[in-house]
Structures are given as C-alpha cells and as structure tokens.
Point group: C2
C-alpha cells in the first residue's frame, strides 16, 4: 500500500530534463511600442530616425557661421550682420543650415542698428546639439530578447520606431481537479475544501509575464482529466494540473498524462514538493503540482517559473539572500532536499532566523514566512546557531524595520501587530507563538526584542518576575506590564456536558485538548492538576497539543474536543462558553536596548495608546489598568 | 540673464517638506479578493471560516474512537466493529463526529466478516487534520497596509473572505507641455521634438502601482497651463507637469503653480535634476519635472516614487547595490549631489564600474546604463580606482554573465551584441566605445575581457601587434583577428563638393567632423596629415569630436559637416558616398583568462559562426576572411 513514485530526482536535474524535452518556441507578434512595457523583443530594434534629427541650439544665444568668428578676440571685436551672419536662437531651436555654431547670449552685445558684436571665436559645432547626439538613424538601439522597460519605450519612440516585434506572452492553463474541492465561497459545507491553489498559481504566473486561463474544476475521473489536458495543451504553451500528482490509487494525473502524452519525471527529491509530475503533451510542457499549498507553491517556483522565463528568453530573477543565525534546530530527512519556511528579524544587528514548524497544508505559514532556508539532501538538519542563507520572501526594507516578539500567544498581540502597521507603515511587529518559557529562552539568547509571558510562580502566587530572574541572566531586560486576562475552561455553547471543575476532566465522556509544552496555559493546568492530585494520564486528549488559544477554542466550538483551558477572548471569538478560573498577568519581557531604541519607544507608545487598549479590552476578559507600567 | 532658482535644497529635505505639506489620504474601496493582487489592505482582514472547518483525515485508513483502542497492543489485538467502532476514510475525508482519531491503513487487518483488527492504540486527534489547523475563524490573517500577494489572496479565500477593503490606486496625471514637442511619429519635421518623457513616466508610475492618465500636449502659455493644472489636480492624487520647470523667461510652470496653488520648492541641489518644482494645489501634490529625459527620470525617482508609495502606505523598494571599482575619474561640482550613469561588469571577479559620459538629453545613456553612482555634494569627484557603491538598474543575474568589451567603435560590434543575446539569452556582451588606445589601456588595467582595436604602426605598416606589445605588459592577452574593413572619406550623396583627397580638407568651403582623441580613425587621419604635411589647424571642424562612426556619418548625411573619416558600413547606413582610402584590420585583444573561460569560448564560437559573419559582411566594406584566427 506504500506510494510508489517512478523517480526521486534532484530538482535541477529534473528541470534540465524537462526543459530539454519540451523544445518549442513562442511565436512573435508586432505591437505598438506604447503597449510594449515588460514584453520581450523578438529581434533587434534599429533606429528609424536620428534624435535629434536637426542641429539644435544647446544655449540661448545667436547661431553663427563659425569661420566668420575666427578673428574675434578681446582686443578685436567682430561685428556680425543679422540674418546674413547670425540669427537669434533659444535652447532647443533648430539651427538654420547656413549656420554651424552658437554664441551664448551672455557673450553678445548689440549695436543700436541690430548688429551683434562678439569678442570670442567659436569652432564649428560649439553649443550645438549635434544631429544624432542621442540616437543615430539605422543604429541598433535594443537587442533581441530584451525585456522592454519604460526607458526602452522612450528610446524607440525617440528614434521614430512606433511598433516593435515581441514574443507573445506564454499562455498558461491551470486545471484544478478533485471531487472535494469547490470554488471559493463564504461557508463551505462539511467535506468541501475551497480551491485556492489556482489563485496562487495565477498570481505568480501573471507576475512572471504569462497569460493565464483557469479552467473549471475537473472531477477525479481519468477520462475527464485526459480531455481537459488535451484541450489545454492544444491552446496553451504550458499546462498546470493540480492535484492528483501523488502516487495513490485515486491519483489519476500521472496516468492521464501518460495516456495522451509523456511522463518525463514523477517524484522530486525534495520535502515538501515530492509529488510533482513533469511531462509533455505534443511538445507542450505539462506540470502536475502537489495538492498541499506549500508543496504546490514550491514546485511552481522550481518548475513553472523557469519554464515561463525560458519561453520568454529571460533569466528568472533570484530572490535576495541574507545570512542569519538559526535560532533552533531543524531536522530533515537524509536524501531529500528540505525547504523550511522561516521568520527573520534583526536583533542587536544579528539576523535571527526562526523556523515556522507548520505542515505543508498550512497556507498561513506562507503568509507569515519571511523567507526560505534549504537543507541539502546529504544533511539531516542544522543545529541552532548555524550561520545560514535565507532566500527572502519579504522586502529587505521591511525586515530591517521589524520588531521581533517571541513568546506566548495572545489575541491582543494580533491587535498590536495590526495597529503598529497602521501607525508606522514602514515598520512591522513580528510575533512567533512558541509559549512563555520558549520566549524567555529566546530573549536570554538574544533572539528577540520582546517576549510575551504569563508564568505563575506556584510558591509566591506572583506572575513572571521570579522566572525572569531565574532564566534571564545575561541579557539586560525590563519587565513591562501588558494585560490582565481571564484564564479558564473553554466549553461548548450552553456547556452541554456540564463541566464545572478540574475533576470533570477525568470523566470518560470528556475529551480535552491541550496546549504545547512550555505554554503558560499548560503550566497553569499542570499546576492545578498537581494541586488536585490528578494524573495527566487520566485525561483523554492531554497529549493532543495545539499552539494557540484560538486553535483549542476552535476544536471545542466544532465539537472535536469538549474542553480546553484558554483565555476568555478566544472563547468569545469562537462563540463558546467560558468558566473563569484565574486572572493572569500577561507581560512583556523587553531587552533594555530595544526599550531605549526608537522602535522600542514606538512600541511603548503603541501599548499605552487608549485606542489600542480599548480595542484590546473589547475582545473580552482583558484589563489594561496597568498596561505599559514597568514592573 | 542667468537663471535664478528659489532654492537649492538637498533632495531628502525637499522630499520631506513636500510629503509634509501634502497631507491627504487615499480613499478605500471594497473589491473582490480575486482582483486584489498587489493592492494594499486598508484595514485588518479577519477569517470568516476556519480552514479546514471540519476534522479531516490526514491518512488513508480508518476513523476510530480513540478510547476504544487504548487496550490494543502487539500481544493484545482489539477487534472493532464497522460503523459502530470505525469507518474507512481516505486522506482529506471528513471524520464523522463520533470518531476522533485515524489508524493508518497499513496497521489495520480485516476479518472475513468485515471487522477491523488493530494492534496499536491511538490518542484522540492522531492523524486527524484539526479544525483550524491552517486558519481559525475570527483570527487576524492580514494586517492593514499590507500589499496583497498571491499567497495572501489564497489565505483570504481559504478563510471564506471573498471581498477585501483596499486603498484606491493613486491617480496620477501627466501633463506634457511645450510648443516644439509632438506626439510620437515616424518622421518628425525639422524643429519638432518627439514627446517621449510621458511614456517613461507612465511606465514607472504603473510599476509603482499608480493609475496614470496622460494629458494631451499643452502649449507654452501661462493661462492654458494653469487650466490644465487645475483640471488635473481636481481629479487626481498627484499631478506631474513636464517641462518648463527651469527658471528661464519662457518657463511658465513655476508661475502657473504659484498662481493657482503653492510652490514649496524650486531647485534641488543635484546634477542633473536641478530644475525640479515641488508644489501643491489644494493639498494635491504637484511635481514639475525637468525637460531633459535623464534629469526627468532621476527626479521622477526621487519624488514621484516615494510620493506614490507614501499614498499607498508602502515602503518604496530599494535598488540592489553592488560595490565595484571605478575605472576612470569622474568630476562633479562642489555643492551639488551628482548622479552618474555607469556600465558595470565582472572582470577577474572584480566589478568594474565605467562612467557613461553623456549629457542629460541622451535617452540612450539610460538604456545602456547598468547602474548609478552618486557623488555627495561635499566632493568634487572620485578618482579612478575608488571603491564605490552602484545602485543597479540591470538585474544582478545579467551583470554576472556580462562579457565586457571596451575599445573602438564598429558597427559589427552591434551585431555581436545582438547575436550573443539571441544565442545565449542569459548572457550579454557589453561594449563601451572609447577608442582603440583607451581600449588597450583598459585591458592592461584589467577592466575588460576584450578590446576592439585598429591601430596602424606607421613604421611597419602592420596593424595592432606593436601597440599590444608596447602597451599591454602585465595582463596576459591574445590578439584575435576580427574583421578587415574599409576606411575612407564619408561625404554627402553624390559628393556635391567633389572631395577626392586629403588636401581637399583644408578648402575654405569644407567643414570636417572628427573622431575623439585616441580613436584609431583619428590616428589614421593624423598619420595621413603628417604624410601630406598638413596642419590640423588648417581644417575647419578638426576640433569637433564625435564618438562613433555612425555619429560622424549622420553629421555628413544631415549636412552638418561636409566630410568625415570613417568606415564604409557607416557611410552606407546613412546613405552617404564613400571614398575608400585603406583596408584596416580591426582585431580583438582578449585576456587569456577570458579566452579560456566558458564565456570566452561562447564569444569565439560567435565570431566564427558563418551566419554572424554573413550578417557583418552584408553591412558593406567588411571581410571576415580571417575572423577568429589567433594572430
């Protein structure tokens, strides 16, 4: 029952094979230069006219015959007769044929009867804008295979070239397949998955210069898929089909391509992205992309991008690369090239690279990713602290202006992220949710500017201070009060199972959903369990970990679990009931250098802003009565 | 009569003042997410649905109730009853409410009567794609002021968000003014200048995300200009007027803006670009750009670009920067920030930066420029050899693959440039025309891969070899035969002035046009003058220098000169007559390291290609009988 791929090819080899196998060229067309922006010339462009095509004055003054000025000097003024020997000209005026030089207005005196008196000689061509100074007619102005920029359009127009021969835009067909997928809608029924991959493909392909047609969704039937492929290959230069590119029994794509064309490769030695098919139908390249959005996005970039640029006879642009320090270990499988989404930010002038640990089905991981790191197939991962290259997905300008937060998840952080972006569009707040303890460790290691923490000291009943003192020893930090918030049990609307107290969690009919190790909320639960002498193993679902308050609340709301511990705002957002247990203190541990910086001051202004505080309190269960105070 | 500007402001100060003075915001609009690519969110986007919004199987297998599997082990198989205890599921299938975990198909055995036998327990949630694994409903998914990428569109669609509130595109009006300018046409009359600046502006503004309207050309009359400005400011978010931004008597722009709005600044401390006007009309920013295309292009970049990005609440992207070595001194004026167009290429792993010495009216200088260098106002230039930052205008990928030629101009080089681009789209040949001697110096200093030279040894009658031996001492080079070509006098069609021999050049009615010092063609003329004992001062126009064969031929063709020395192909291209004097040898001096490199081999293949040679010979006056031979 294991999936069997034909191949496990390194991706550059695979790309080479595919490019070589699909040997056809895009046709040319002649279009107006005014419409040719970003198109690619199919042949050299030669000037039709010279620019300028007449001798023009480069100064305000008089046009003269140079040889009539040769005798002029400070001691020997020469008198020139109007029309015969000179004529007045302004900058840009054509110079009549009989004249060949210009004397600046400042150097001319006039007699009362209109003669010009000069004390300087000029040579032929002086202060004259020569014919063809810019462009000489018949000269090559643009080569073939050149992507036309605005300045190239201008040069062509200046040279009297109004039409240009360009390569047609590569036509790309996108065929979405699958019985369970539906067009985007507001409220999909249970079992319906929204088809958004084609929107991703269309957007990037358009940026790369293709003309994209998205087909209607095709059912998972071999014959229908074959028909769609044949139709698409007939009218397009590249066909992309998604998905069914895996090697399961219901994955028809590879069979459909084989039946009407040729499968060149099935299976790439990458993770994610392995279930990729490279094929062709009558010389037209066909690309079968994986179903998971992250896999599909990567594979699109590896194969569709170079194919489109190849058809356009252009070099694909490379992403900017920055070198940073990996903040935690990433593992990979030997023999596969591994691609890891990361967040990055500068902390104390070091670029900190933090892996995003999501699966290939999580489209939000790409929304949040600032870059990609690559682990070569011969390695099994990189250790924390490794110096590593990051291919950027976010602009370097924005990365320079990122305030980096690592720590516990709270819905109010989303509000800070949004408000920061609204007030200071050139900066951003980046926040990674890894739990309070991991946040403390990160700030101690110099990997973030601030950490959101809510850690109860079981002995003193105090929040956060003792943990900071114990775990943050080398980095100078301040503890800044952020919010009070209510922690408690999130249960389904109306509390159908009557959950009231901690002891209810061990009931046979109760499935719990937990937060990850190191999360303050989990530590609070563990503290309560110890207090009530309850063993974790007695709770069904204790081992099921989620990373945010929202996720556990969603699990309860949709009936996947009966109870979770979390904050009131998450319960209210998901229309769940809430049984309050504690008022927590959620604070920020901030490095002193951040607090003293311009960005740190922005951040403090932000959290002290009454509008921001009002927006946070309206989430439910929050109090900002001490927000912004140093503890 | 000198031009008087109000100001001479550093450009960043000027920009700040302008941005502060024009305090208005772009309106919002709600559009379909599918149409929102590259638009900017005007507010935060929250998820409407969770994705997935049902528990889905992450494996092919059976959905089970986890607690019914707890007893299962290798030694204690558990039997499950179909429908009641389990149901088969494929990857992506919804899991019925009564089940909470999935067992992989590989770990299930079936009895003959359809019961499932398992030997492993699973916990709740195992192999289950949780509700909200990707996106939890009500969660913030995109902040305000975020430029929407394809992946953001996908996240919104996945979350059931079909419409999004975005900032409207900034509307920009472009008003071309001038009595002498005309819309692009094939054959402008004498005195007509083609208006191509608005095409440059429109192209870049479109790239920056603006919606551009180009007005009809407006005559140079104060009242008409005022009307156009008022109309434009009424309906647009930014008004660009070009030109008349200088301070001469016929430059009305500044007066027109003052009359109906406010001039914030007139005159920027830059060269080129000084004649810029920053103003506003009823809070709408107005930008008066200089007439010369290079000045206008720079000023557009300094002011229109940040204004458009400011209105879009985005950070303007910065150009990539490379550090290189300046190959020759550039001068600048103290007190002005100077911008110099440059060509760049890697030679022996060093990035060589060569200034393009053209005026601000030469649009081709921007077509050919790879980058810009900036000389700060407190300096008067940079010496050759200075380490300098280059803002790139060409893609770094193409710069890496550039074959750098510096030397004498020949029309056949244009053909090589074009043919190289056709055969090897990922590479390019860059060629700077500075004359044979300057080419030799450049190769000796390690600043190019090859130099085109045609230098006659007056003593031996031999071409090139003795010069290479004398001037190239430290760089190992080879001399490669390129073409034989005819040098002679270029005269007007029909030779109306009956020019036959060198002595004719001193006639009173003959105006000559010369090539620049160090050009092989000029050295050939000087050689002939010495031989005939003619003094250069006897020749009208001897001091008038041009840099290419095409330019001098154009001067003759348009009647600006009577005679020039040059190659037959240039005469033929300009439909001039040609009086042959010499068959020259135009050769390439190549560094050995280039000749041994992959690129060098490509280059050699190129010049040996019969198709290329045929194209060269068809220019007229060329012979490729020895092309590609080592001399």
């Amino acid at each position: 029952m294991r999936k069997v791929y034909l191949d496990n090819s390194p991706r550059f080899d695979a790309l080479d094979q595919w490019l070589k196998a699909c040997a056809f060229s895009i046709e040319k067309e002649i279009i107006n230069v005014e419409d040719a922006l970003h198109r690619v010339t199919s042949e050299a462009v030669y000037a039709h006219n010279s620019n300028p095509n007449f001798q023009a004055s480069a100064m305000d003054g008089i046009a003269v015959k140079a040889y009539k000025t040769y005798e002029a000097s400070e001691t020997n003024p020469v008198q020139l007769e109007k029309d015969q020997d000179f004529t007045p000209v302004d900058t840009g005026d054509p110079i009549p044929d009989e004249f060949d030089a210009v004397i600046m207005i400042e150097k001319v005196n006039y007699t009362d009867d209109g003669h010009a008196i000069i004390h300087h000689s000029v040579g032929p061509g002086q202060h004259v804008r020569a014919i063809g100074e810019d462009i000489v007619s018949k000269e090559l102005i643009i080569t073939a295979n050149h992507q036309i920029r605005p300045i190239d359009q201008a040069a062509m127009l200046a040279a009297g070239v109004l039409e240009v021969s360009v390569l047609k835009k590569p036509k790309v067909a996108i065929i979405p397949t699958g019985d369970e997928i539906v067009k985007p809608k507001k409220d999909p029924a249970r079992g319906e998955l929204i088809e958004f991959n084609s929107t991703i493909f269309k957007g990037y392909l358009t940026e790369w210069g293709a003309e994209v047609t998205v087909f209607d969704i095709v059912k998972d039937e071999l014959q229908i898929i074959e028909q769609a492929l044949a139709h698409a290959a007939n009218e397009h230069d590249l066909v992309i089909i998604n998905a069914g590119s895996s090697a399961g029994t219901e994955d028809y794509t590879v069979h459909a391509i084989k039946n009407i064309g040729e499968v060149i490769l099935h299976g790439i030695a990458t993770r994610p992205g392995k279930p990729t098919i490279l094929g062709k139908i009558a010389d037209k390249p066909v690309l079968g992309l994986p179903g998971y959005p992250v896999s599909a996005w990567l594979s699109l970039d590896w194969f569709a991008k170079p194919m489109v640029y190849h058809l356009r006879k252009l070099v694909p642009p490379e992403r900017p690369i920055l070198t940073g320090i990996l903040s935690k270990r990433v593992n990979s499988v030997f023999g596969s090239e591994e691609f890891v989404r990361v967040k990055v930010g500068y902390v104390n002038s070091k670029l900190i690279v933090t892996p995003i640990g999501s699966g290939a089905g999580v489209v939000m991981s790409l929304v949040l990713a600032d870059g990609l790191i690559t682990i070569p197939p011969e390695l099994e991962g990189y250790d924390a602290g490794t110096k590593i290259d990051v291919e950027l997905l976010t602009s370097p300008e924005l990365i320079k202006n990122t305030m980096v937060g690592i720590g516990s998840h709270d819905l109010s952080i989303d509000i800070l992220v949004d408000e920061a972006k609204q007030r200071y569009p050139k900066t951003r707040v980046s926040s990674a949710h890894v739990g309070s303890m991991a946040g403390l460790m990160a700030i101690e290691r110099g990997e973030c500017h601030f950490a959101g923490v809510h850690l109860l000291d079981a002995e003193t009943g105090e929040y956060n201070r003792s943990y900071v003192d114990k775990f943050v020893k080398t980095t100078p930090v301040k503890l800044v009060h952020f919010v009070y918030r209510q922690q408690g049990f999130i249960v389904a609307k109306g509390n159908p199972k009557g959950i009231e107290k901690i002891e209810d969690l061990i009931r046979d009919d109760i499935v719990y959903v937990n937060r990850q190790k190191g999360a303050g909320t989990r530590m609070l639960l563990d503290y309560m369990l110890r207090k009530h002498r309850i063993s974790a193993s007695q709770i069904a679902g204790y081992t099921r970990e989620m990373f945010t308050h929202s996720s556990v609340a969603a699990s309860v709301a949709y009936g996947a679990a009966d109870c979770a511990m979390g904050i009131r705002s998450a319960a209210e957002a998901m229309d769940c009931d809430f049984i309050p247990l504690y008022e927590e203190q959620y604070d920020f541990v901030m490095t002193e250098s951040f607090l003293d910086s311009e960005q740190g001051q922005m951040f403090m202004e932000l959290i002290k802003d009454p509008t921001v505080q009002k927006r946070i309190e309206s989430l439910g269960g929050y109090s900002c009565r001490d927000t912004g105070k140093l503890k």
